[in-house]
């Protein structure tokens, strides 16, 4: 609205400010309609790190309160999934596992996939699930998805422990598996899974503030994505005709490398992994930009 009065007020204020320098430059906070896409306040997130850790604790503690088995569920869930896959895909459908023990093959896929999928689905409704808090108080909104990724990391560590249990058992029994130097890439793999899951999740959550429809697609999308990732069958089994579909999925090199690192079979390629890393970085950066852009006005549309 081009109100002449407001323009005048503005002029007057700048004039007054010129004579009161102590009022002019020491504002600790300036609230403006829109800031640039690259004004990310990541320092704010660092200042609220205690909050992030408390969110992690809350998510972790509250999840299995009042359940009989408690944190055991962290182990039971991948175990049951693995057993199902072993029976259905391994024994009945007789899909190849690259010559690896079925349990190890599926468990490694499920463990890595779960971390990515949990990061994605749980961050994808950040705005809708936290509307009541976001509507009442300010803190860097990114604290919520970041805390989800961290609390999933704890879960992942526990499930990795389960995998290692089976791993050493099979190793001791002399199964045809061997750890490779690619184990050193584990931190990178975890970072890639986290970045991809978080990036995609916050993109979805940002878009769902306006278009709710996407929310219903997430579950289905993740499921679909899993079938285009070598979780239940190895990449080596695919004909070249379908291989590109698999390889265009940035999670594929991650899962394959994960398996290769521990079990010594699978496809490992610096090239594929590099592309995957590039895509993950882009997705995460894009996600943070979009999330940051949406967070200021999301409460008007959620």
């Amino acid at each position: 609205m081009n109100n002449p009065l407001s323009g005048w007020l503005h002029l007057k204020r700048s004039f007054v400010a010129a004579f009161e320098p102590q009022n002019d430059d020491k504002w600790t906070l300036v609230i403006r309609p829109k800031t640039g896409w690259f004004d990310l306040h990541l320092a704010d997130l660092w200042r609220y790190r205690d909050l992030v850790m408390l969110f992690v604790r809350r998510d972790f503690v509250s999840q299995y309160k009042q359940t009989v088995l408690g944190p055991l569920w962290f182990i039971i869930q991948p175990l049951l999934t693995t057993l199902t896959y072993t029976v259905i895909f391994g024994s009945i459908a007789r899909l190849s596992t690259d010559g690896l023990p079925k349990i190890l093959f599926y468990l490694s896929g499920v463990t890595a996939w779960n971390y990515f999928a949990d990061c994605l689905t749980k961050t994808s409704d950040t705005f809708a699930a936290n509307a009541s808090i976001f509507g009442k108080v300010y803190f860097p909104r990114l604290a919520v998805p970041v805390s989800i990724v961290l609390s999933n990391l704890i879960r992942f560590a526990i499930q990795l422990g389960l995998f290692l249990g089976f791993y050493f058992y099979f190793l001791a029994r002399g199964a045809a598996i061997r750890p490779t130097m690619a184990l050193w890439l584990m931190p990178l793999l975890i970072a890639l899974m986290a970045a991809l899951g978080l990036g995609t999740g916050i993109i979805v959550s940002s878009v769902t503030t306006r278009y709710r429809d996407l929310r219903y697609l997430v579950q289905f999308g993740v499921q679909l994505l899993m079938y285009s990732t070598p979780v239940i069958y190895p990449l080596s089994q695919l004909s070249d005709q379908y291989r590109w579909i698999m390889l265009s999925n940035p999670m594929t090199p991650v899962i394959e490398t994960f398996r290769y690192a521990f079990l010594g079979t699978g496809t490992f390629s610096w090239g594929y992994l590099g592309v995957s890393a590039g895509v993950s970085a882009l997705v995460l950066a894009g996600g943070i930009l979009l999330f940051n852009h949406v967070e200021k006005t999301c409460m008007d549309t959620v």
Partner: protein
């Protein structure tokens, strides 16, 4: 005193109606218009009056027929100095909460700018982020962190917080086992121990019992005494008056008045008694309430009454369809809550029907009220006694004026004490020495 908050030409636009399905088309339209350098095709210039705003169920926003956008705030500018306690008053939908939301950074303004010096903590609600499964102790940390404290700050204040909340025995019990009183006390205790330079409070006092409200007010006074700046929104005019030095009155999204809190509250009350607009019709039932008038015993329309005078509430209606057995409820509400009611659901005196234009009136005989401001609420229900035809809402206001000394009141602290419980029935004290003293508002002054 230095300025700590500078609000400059603040405007906020809200979209009306359903947001979601079908929005993609609008978004594309907006985007195309922007590309061609045209005005936003869906934006409407000028604001709507409060009565036109969509209130929950009464207004349906049709496609294209109604503006899709309203301005909740328009060019609001003001400054707040350090240590000032500023009250923001205004009717529902005047933009008070929007100002606080923008200041708390819960939402961004559409235009304008706010510059702030110092740390802001906002209390738009107590207990934000409390998780029922976590213990009191865990929730203190979580809630404190959400409000912007660091872990070590909370640790330093922990004992104080627990002591203030009076729940120390249950501090390691999940808060879902707490009574609602304990829950609110714990939540407020955390908030009260924030130490921001600027505190923003919205209607927090509306929760809890009166003892709790008093404790909140007391704590806020302490905070104000420490030289901190407070912005306070409340419908509790008494609280605004007693807590704030300065008041800002927002009206239809614009800054209407700015001045000492006493004057602003006074002026605000005068104005709402003059022009009270309410949702006065229900087309489904064909009922329109044309006017609600307050009259004194001489039959003159009035906004001021004396203690013990008669108050006549006259309702002018137009029932376009025949309305069988409409149950009417009237209530008189003081600053601190309901005083008394005339309710057909209770007394069963229901008119056979309302049809065409007519009047229905209720005479409250010798109102037992102390000098204060009051509002009259009204509801109309269908003959099943349940369905609301006209929602229970403010339809008129009046003030009771008079010098209590004329009625035999001679208390030394009368001024302060008269505000809390304004309804007085005749009563009689019997003293230890056997003498008695009777008190009644019906003793008319000569």
């Amino acid at each position: 005193m230095r300025v700590v908050i500078q609000v400059d030409c603040l405007s906020k636009e809200y979209r009306l109606g359903q947001i979601g399905g079908g929005r993609l088309v609008d978004d594309v339209n907006r985007w195309l218009a922007k590309l061609r350098g045209k005005e936003d095709p869906l934006s409407k210039i000028g604001s709507m009056t409060a009565s036109q705003r969509p209130s929950a169920s009464n207004t349906s926003v049709g496609n294209g027929a109604q503006p899709e956008v309203i301005w909740a705030l328009q060019d609001v500018s003001f400054e707040v100095k350090q240590g000032e306690v500023l009250g923001i008053v205004g009717r529902n939908g005047a933009g008070k909460s929007t100002v606080l939301k923008i200041l708390s950074r819960v939402t961004a303004p559409t235009r304008g700018e706010i510059r702030v010096k110092g740390r802001i903590a906002s209390l738009l609600e107590v207990g934000t982020g409390f998780h029922p499964e976590l213990t009191g102790r865990e929730n203190i940390y979580l809630n404190g962190a959400i409000l912007g404290m660091t872990k070590s700050e909370i640790r330093g204040k922990f004992d104080e917080i627990v002591a203030f909340s009076e729940v120390d025995q249950f501090i390691d019990t999940p808060v879902k086992r707490y009574s609602s009183g304990m829950y609110v006390r714990l939540a407020f205790a955390v908030a009260a121990h924030l130490e921001p330079e600027i505190l923003i409070v919205d209607e927090v006092l509306a929760v809890g019992d009166s003892a709790f409200q008093k404790k909140c007010l007391g704590k806020m006074k302490d905070v104000a005494g420490e030289g901190r700046t407070i912005l306070f929104v409340s419908h509790n005019m008494e609280a605004v008056r007693s807590l704030c030095q300065r008041g800002i009155w927002l009206k239809d999204g614009r800054l209407h008045n700015d001045g000492p809190a006493d004057e602003i509250v006074e002026a605000y009350f005068d104005s709402i008694s003059n022009q009270l607009s309410f949702v006065n019709s229900n087309l489904a039932y064909g009922l329109v309430i044309e006017k609600v008038m307050l009259k004194n015993s001489h039959g003159e329309e009035s906004g001021q009454f004396r203690p013990g005078e008669d108050l006549i509430v006259e309702i002018l209606y137009d029932a376009q369809k025949r309305l069988e057995k409409p149950y009417i409820t009237l209530g008189v509400i003081g600053i601190n809550g309901p005083c008394f009611t005339a309710n057909m659901l209770l007394d069963g005196d229901v008119p056979e029907a309302m049809h065409g234009c007519g009047t229905i009136a209720c005479r409250f005989k010798s109102i037992p009220l102390l000098p204060q401001n009051y509002t009259v609420k009204m509801a109309v229900r269908a003959k099943n006694g349940i369905d609301l035809i006209i929602n229970y809402q403010d339809v008129a206001c009046f003030s009771v004026v008079g010098d209590l000394a004329d009625y035999g009141y001679k208390g030394e602290f009368l001024e302060r004490a008269s505000r809390y419980t304004p309804v007085v029935v005749p009563y009689e004290w019997r003293m230890p020495d056997g003498t008695s003293a009777s008190v009644s508002l019906n003793r008319r002054p000569e």
